[in-house]
């Protein structure tokens, strides 16, 4: 149960910390590093709120131990932009009212970031399918889909 030393790069900053093996990556980011942008919802991989990028790929940070991230490059919602200078996806969320309480937003943004890199998101169905692993308890899904559609640079689906 002894603590282990790890080195991780989070949002471009290198950290060296000693962690207990059972410490979840989500708790490491929030409690050890103080990066509270990553939210913790269900803690069993269902809600998607804690989604971050690990070496460029989205992952649920409640389903990884910090010790496993040794040597990894982590990106959290804090990497996307600042209040004064949001990135294009954040701008689209702002523009389309894609957040209400904001709890799910970090996970939505990090998930959408990976989805946009890996899939064409050529239809609203594909966007909905991609976001289906992220829960919004305000149920503001329609606006989130609109924001991602805008970020992809696509017009609304024609009614079928």
């Amino acid at each position: 149960m002894s603590a282990r030393a790890i080195k991780v790069t989070v949002n471009g900053v290198a950290y060296e910390r000693s962690v207990e093996p059972r410490l979840l990556l989500a708790d490491f980011l929030r409690h050890t590093l103080g990066l509270t942008g990553t939210h913790v919802g269900c803690e069993h991989g269902v809600c998607g709120a804690c989604t971050v990028l690990v070496d460029g790929d989205s992952a649920r940070s409640c389903l990884m131990f910090a010790v496993q991230a040794d040597g990894a490059r982590i990106e959290t919602v804090e990497s996307l932009g600042t209040i004064g200078q949001m990135n294009a996806l954040q701008e689209a969320f702002h523009e389309h009212h894609a957040l209400q309480c904001g709890f799910c937003t970090p996970g939505m943004l990090m998930t959408a970031t990976d989805l946009m890199r890996k899939y064409p998101l050529a239809s609203d169905d594909e966007i909905r399918e991609g976001l289906s692993g992220n829960l919004c308890r305000c149920t503001g899904y329609e606006h989130i889909v609109r924001a991602v559609r805008a970020a992809v640079g696509r017009a609304k689906d024609a009614p079928s």
Binding site: M1, R22, E43, H44, R60, L63, T111, L115, K118, G130
Partner: protein, 291 residues
């Protein structure tokens, strides 16, 4: 909602993994993608004394084409199966099914070895292993062993793996030419575990079904092949009547569970509907005449 404390072993090789498992005398678990294991740890449904992390073992994630089969390393992630050109060419049914496996963030981490060893009775990969007559290769401190997928799944979350054994590789024989395929699933939400799913391959010979394979999940304690329906189909041309007969045979031979999401009767009905659709799809893809 936090795991109990455990000792963490970062494995360097398959040999050191099985040695650590054996030394722990049943108190250790392998940590691969962690997408099923870590929720169980967080809920404290599992309290292993030791976790053996295999994520850094070299050469454990691969998809290799051989003369008559495809070999897949146990640490191969779902996303790689979903996007592999080799899988798309030889087993398009797998590529199609992978889109139904959970969500991208989980497919990025989850592994084929983990899914097969975990053996959720509603998961897609165990049924695909059955469909494709896969062989599972495991290693223990006393040496390697090969198990037919047919013999591997014993019950819900229960497989033929001893506490000191590790699944290292899956081999899948290539399908004959003129094989049509289909994968159909109904889940309450995209990416959820299946209420029921059916995968089919139909290999045509002289315009008739030479070999039919039907695998099902969500309908019993383990995934199953529909032996009776497969036997009915062999040597015949697919017609509407034959589809109905296959559906009846499937419904008569499954024992679906009732749970919060669906009753046993509903699942039995559903498995028949999905079987009919999958057979018609596979027949069409194989180039058969319209049924």
């Amino acid at each position: 909602m936090k795991p109990v404390a455990f000792d963490y072993v970062l494995a360097e090789s398959i040999d050191t993994t099985v040695a650590a498992l054996a030394a722990a005398g049943g108190e250790a678990k392998i940590l691969a993608g962690g997408q099923s294991l870590v929720p169980m740890l967080n809920f404290r449904l599992l309290r292993p004394a030791i976790l053996v992390d295999i994520n850094r073992i070299p050469d454990l994630a691969f998809i290799d084409e051989r003369a008559d089969h495809i070999a897949i390393g146990a640490l191969t992630r779902h996303y790689r199966l979903e996007t592999s050109p080799i899988i798309a060419e030889h087993f398009p049914v797998v590529a199609e099914a992978m889109r139904h496996v959970a969500h991208l963030a989980i497919r990025n981490r989850g592994t084929i070895g983990g899914s097969l060893s975990h053996a959720d009775p509603a998961a897609e990969l165990p049924m695909l292993a059955l469909l494709l007559d896969a062989t599972l290769h495991v290693v223990s401190p006393t040496g390697p062993r090969a198990i037919a997928a047919w013999d591997f799944f014993l019950g819900p979350l229960t497989v033929d793996l001893a506490a000191d054994e590790m699944l290292t590789r899956v081999t899948i024989p290539k399908l004959p030419p003129v094989t049509g395929w289909s994968f159909v699933e109904v889940a309450r939400r995209t990416g959820d575990f299946a209420l029921a799913a059916v995968a089919v391959t139909l290999t045509l010979r002289d315009g008739l079904i030479g070999e039919a394979r039907i695998a099902m999940t969500g309908i019993d304690e383990t995934p199953k092949r529909a032996d009776e329906a497969e036997a009915l189909l062999a040597g015949r041309k697919l017609t509407a009547d034959l589809i109905d007969a296959a559906i009846a045979a499937v419904r008569a031979n499954v024992n679906p569970p009732t749970d919060l999401h669906a009753s046993s009767d509903y699942r039995r009905h559903l498995i028949g509907v999905l079987t009919g659709r999958a057979l018609a799809d596979a027949w069409r893809r194989a180039g058969g005449e319209k049924p």
